[in-house]
Symmetry: C2
């Protein structure tokens, strides 16, 4: 995968794992809070998905951050 | 569609149209520069797509902005 595409997936995975663990949440707990399936969270944290912005917004709202803060 | 999900699609559509027209690019020209199909750009600007982060990164790199700047 082109370097840049891997980097945005990696940035999101790293930000998501950091924010989730700071809250002390498991992937299942985050999925439940965000209205997502826990497999989805696992796949995002393993850079397996080109996550859609609708899912990104759900995650951002759950953490109280902007979608941009999850990506940059 | 939930208000928040519509808002992230609308923010992206507005930012994309503003950046594109500032460059004087048509949707076709932007699509060619970003390596996307022009229907893709049209659908994004009409809020019809939950765009994936891989596409978002391609657009951000084309404009020389961060993915977050396209969404916030």
């Amino acid at each position: 995968m082109a370097d840049d595409l891997q980097s945005i997936r990696q940035r999101l995975a790293d930000n998501l794992r950091r924010l989730r663990t700071e809250q002390g949440w498991s992937q299942e707990q985050l999925a439940a809070l965000a209205g997502l399936h826990h497999n989805h969270i696992s796949a995002i944290e393993r850079c397996k998905l080109s996550v859609g912005i609708d899912v990104l917004e759900k995650l951002a709202l759950t953490f109280g951050v902007t979608a941009g803060e999850l990506l940059d």
